[in-house]
Each structure stands twice: as structure tokens, then as C-alpha cells.
Amino acid sequence: MSNEIIIAGFGGQGVLSMGKILAYAGLMENKEVSWMPAYGPEQRGGTANVTVIVSDEPVSSPILSTYDVAIVLNQPSLDMFESKVKPGGAIIYDSYGIINPPTRKDIHIYKVDAMDTAAQLNMMKTFNMIVLGGLLKVRPMVQIEGVLKALKKTLPERHHHLIPMNEKAIEKGMEIIQEL
């Protein structure tokens, strides 16, 4: 079983770190993983994306033509990646700022309004964890315990007190995601 995922949005939304935490969670569960960022002269507000593969088999190419799941967090990313989801795959998107929502009929379309939810709960910094929670609800490729271990591993110790807040964000994401 392989999960080939693209996560795309604006720089500063936590796209790369969300991918990193997902990859680490896979590592914690002894899965094969790869994390390949589209690196560049990135800046806050520019585009950012990362390809994450979580698989039971060794990963061949870290760069892909098509994806099982596309997580798109802005309009340009949705426009770029909607057509690259495999038939039967899924798009997860945040409707904040989306003018033209996805239209494909041969894939699952999920909406996770993480931006609004994060603002309401005053948890803007855990926006990406809300989105990750949504992903894990509809594609449970790793356990929440794995994600918590990954957070412990990737966050410096001085930030470990923030882990419960991240856990809460993941749970919130699982709660609010809906299939359209």
C-alpha cells in the first residue's frame, strides 16, 4: 500500500513542515517514506509544495506525475494539481480564498475549512495540523500516536509544551472535514 501525496499552498502556511511531520510519522511506524520539496528562492506568500510518499514498499521515484491525494491550500495550487489526482483519488482543499472549487467527478473531494476554524479558535499557528487531521480522517495512513511521536522528534524541546495544542488541532481537523 502506497500513499502518494502532494501538499501545496502559500509559503508560510506550514506546507513543508506538515509534510515533514507526516513523513516522520510514517518513519515512526516503520513505513518507507520520502519528502521532496519544490525548493527555490521561497518567501512568505510565494508558492510552496512538497511531495510526500508513505508506503509499505521501498519508494522508487520521489517525484511523481500523479498523486493519490492532493492537499491544496490556495487557488493556484488547486488549479495546478486538480488534474494530477489519480482517478479514484482525493482532493482536500480549504475553501478560504477559493473562487473556483474543484469540479472533477471521478475523485473524492473533501473540504476542510482550516483557515476559518484556526481563526475562530485563535490557533492560527496550528493551521497545518488542522489540515493534517483532515487528511488522517479520510486517509488514515498513520496513527495519531505516530504524529505525536513525530512532533516530539521534530520540535525542539522548548516547544514540546505546544504538542497538546497540535493534538487538539488534529482532532479538530478530523471533526470538520467533509466530503462534497
Binding site: S34, G40, S61, L64, T66
Partner: protein, 363 residues
């Protein structure tokens, strides 16, 4: 950290960690995307406080490679890393290190050229790494890692080969392998060699000082104004290169048994080719992959043998067609050999590789 721990890191980070663990004496480098994490990781790890390894951010690539030249001449385990334009700046020093027959490790995490080009991944320095780069008749041993694990493993391998053959070794990676994160098991810790150990291993040639009282002073120089003598030096180098071609070729053959077609690719292009081969197999097209691990010495013989059993060969490279020249020379007469690549930092997708295979080879 337990020595067998599986961890997740970038290829560039793996190089830095592996070097510290291999008992490196010194790193000299200058930052450039997409390899800056090598120096950053070394700075973060502060090996000068633990193993005593020296880490210097030099004032330029020219300074870096000449510091490596000096360190290597003293028998030390030293290395530098850069990306394409920076490696171009180092070519004079690299030629001197090869001529001086010194063991040094040079890491090139390639980006798209020519010129300052782009910071995106590329494999367009194959010619530079394998066919010269600097002036004169010399060769580097060139290792092409295709995973983060190989980035870590080839540091020790590179130094082992460099010291064994008194020849500089290059790890020729690209932006994909440098920037991606994968699982890696780092090599076990080896202590740095003591002065006595360096004297025992390298005393016959290294400039270790007069304290060891050997009969002659070792001098490292590459200047020889007498042509007769210089020809002898060249003949000695050429004899070494012929020996390396016989003894140090490394490659990975994947899915080659019963394959109708062959793809040749190195580094991250080989990873993309593997995915393409998996997808092609679902369509009933049998494709094998020959991945050179040493780009120099090149796996000519195995490609020749494999070519006899296939209908055609596609060389997939992130360049305009460089390794394909060596594949053509290796292939049996009459076997079609074509190239497919993208340029300027564009990475072809597995689908594009299959499409190119169909268009150029299967027809």
C-alpha cells in the same frame, strides 16, 4: 544516538553527519544552493568540540579547494562541497590535486547551468566530472548516489577509494538527492586517525613534517619542467586509470533479466526511471535499468553485455545528452541508443520517461 538508528534527513545533511562519523579531519567550503545544508549541518553539529574536526567557511570556492589541497597533501581526511558554478571555480585546484595524486573528497550537488543558471536540480556536470573539467589528462573517481542512504555511505567509500588509489574522488549528486528527505542509517563512529596512524598510512608521500625522521623530505608539487619526466608522470597516472577501470567499476542492474529495453540513468534520474519501469511493466513492456554507481570508471562492459539482449537503450539524464555518449560507445554495434532529458532544472516525470521510451525506442 544509537548507531543503528533509522532517521529521516536530507541528502546534504547525511553527507555532513557521515563525514563527522567517518573521522574527517577537515571541511572547507562556501555556501551555495542547493548544497548549503552541508556546511549548515556541520556548523550546527560543532564537530570541533567533539572529534576535533575543523570546519571552515572559506572566503571563496578557490580558497576552499586549495585548503583541501593543503590538507590532503598532509595526509588528512579533508573534503569540500559545492554546487555547479562553485565546482567550476574549483577546477584548477582539482587538476592540481589529481596531478599531485592526493586523496580528497569533493561533493557536487548539481544545479542547472550553464552560467549561474538556476538553483533547481540538474545533471549537466557529467562531462565536467568525468571528462576532465580542469586541464590535463586526469580522472576523478566519480560516485553517483541515488538515495540519501548512498549520500551517507559514499562519504566513507569515497575516502576509502581516494586513499587506496591516491586519487581525488567526487560525489556527483544533484539537487533532488541533496534536498529530499529519506530514511537513512548513518555509519558507525570511527575516531579520527592519530598523527602516528597518518604517518604509518601516508608517510611515504604526505607532508607530515620532519619530526618522524624519515630519510627523505616529502614534497608535493605538480610542476615538472622536464618533458621527459612529465611524460613519466602522465604514464604513471594513465596506468593507474587503466587499473581503476578494471577494478573499481560499480553499478546497479535492476529488472534487466528478460528485459526487451534498457534504460541507463544515474542519481535521481535512475529513481524516476525505476518508477517509469514499474508503470511500463503494468502495460506489459519489459524494461531494465542499468544505473552506473561509478560514473568514472564507467560500467562499459556490463552495458555492452546487456545491450546484446535488448532492442534499444534510452539514456535518461537531466541534461542535453552527456552520459549517452559513453553508453553509445559501450553498446553493441547496431543497438539503437537514444537520449531523453529535460534541461535547466526541470525534472522529467515518470510518465514523460515512458512516453520518450515509446517514441524514441519502441516506436
Amino acid at each position: 544516538m544509537a548507531e543503528q538508528e533509522v532517521t529521516l534527513m536530507k541528502g546534504n545533511e547525511a553527507i555532513a553527519h557521515a563525514a563527522i562519523r567517518c573521522g574527517a579531519d577537515g571541511y572547507f567550503g562556501y555556501p551555495i544552493t542547493p548544497q548549503s545544508e552541508v556546511l549548515e549541518t556541520l556548523a550546527e553539529q560543532k564537530p570541533w568540540e567533539t572529534t576535533g574536526m575543523m570546519v571552515v567557511q572559506a572566503e571563496s570556492e578557490l580558497a576552499s579547494i586549495n585548503m583541501v589541497y593543503g590538507g590532503a597533501a598532509a595526509g588528512k581526511k579533508v573534503f569540500t562541497s559545492s554546487s555547479s558554478p562553485g565546482i567550476s571555480l574549483m577546477q584548477e585546484g582539482i587538476s592540481y590535486i589529481a596531478a599531485g595524486e592526493l586523496p580528497a573528497l569533493i561533493v557536487n550537488v548539481m544545479r542547472g547551468g550553464p552560467g549561474l543558471g538556476t538553483i533547481q536540480p540538474s545533471q549537466s556536470d557529467y562531462f565536467q566530472a568525468c571528462k576532465g573539467g580542469g586541464h590535463g589528462d586526469y580522472h576523478l573517481i566519480v560516485l553517483a548516489p541515488a538515495s540519501v542512504q548512498e549520500m551517507a555511505d559514499f562519504v566513507d567509500l569515497g575516502w576509502t577509494l581516494a586513499f587506496k588509489h591516491k586519487n581525488p574522488c567526487m560525489i556527483l549528486a544533484d539537487g533532488v538527492i541533496g534536498q529530499m528527505m529519506e530514511k537513512v542509517v548513518l555509519p558507525p563512529f570511527k575516531p579520527r586517525r592519530t598523527d602516528e596512524e597518518i604517518e604509518a598510512e601516508c608517510g611515504s608521500w604526505a607532508t607530515t613534517g620532519r619530526k618522524h625522521k624519515h630519510n627523505k623530505n616529502n614534497i608535493v608539487t605538480t610542476l615538472e619542467l622536464r618533458s621527459e619526466e612529465m611524460e613519466v608522470v602522465n604514464q604513471r597516472l594513465q596506468a593507474k586509470y587503466r587499473m581503476l577501470e578494471e577494478t573499481e567499476v560499480r553499478y546497479e542492474a535492476y529488472n534487466c533479466e528478460g528485459a526487451d529495453y534498457l534504460i541507463t540513468a544515474f542519481g535521481s534520474a535512475a529513481r524516476i526511471a525505476k518508477k517509469a519501469i514499474e508503470v511500463a511493466a503494468q502495460e506489459g513492456i519489459k524494461v531494465g535499468l542499468l544505473r552506473p554507481i561509478t560514473l568514472w570508471p564507467f560500467p562499459t562492459k556490463i552495458i555492452h553485455e546487456l545491450s546484446k539482449n535488448v532492442k534499444g537503450i534510452l539514456s535518461v539524464e537531466f541534461n542535453a545528452g552527456q552520459m549517452v555518449e559513453d553508453v553509445r560507445m559501450a553498446a553493441a554495434p547496431g543497438v539503437p541508443v537514444e537520449h531523453f532529458g529535460r534541461l535547466g532544472g526541470i525534472i522529467p516525470s515518470p510518465d514523460e520517461v515512458i512516453e520518450a521510451l515509446k517514441k524514441k525506442i519502441i516506436k
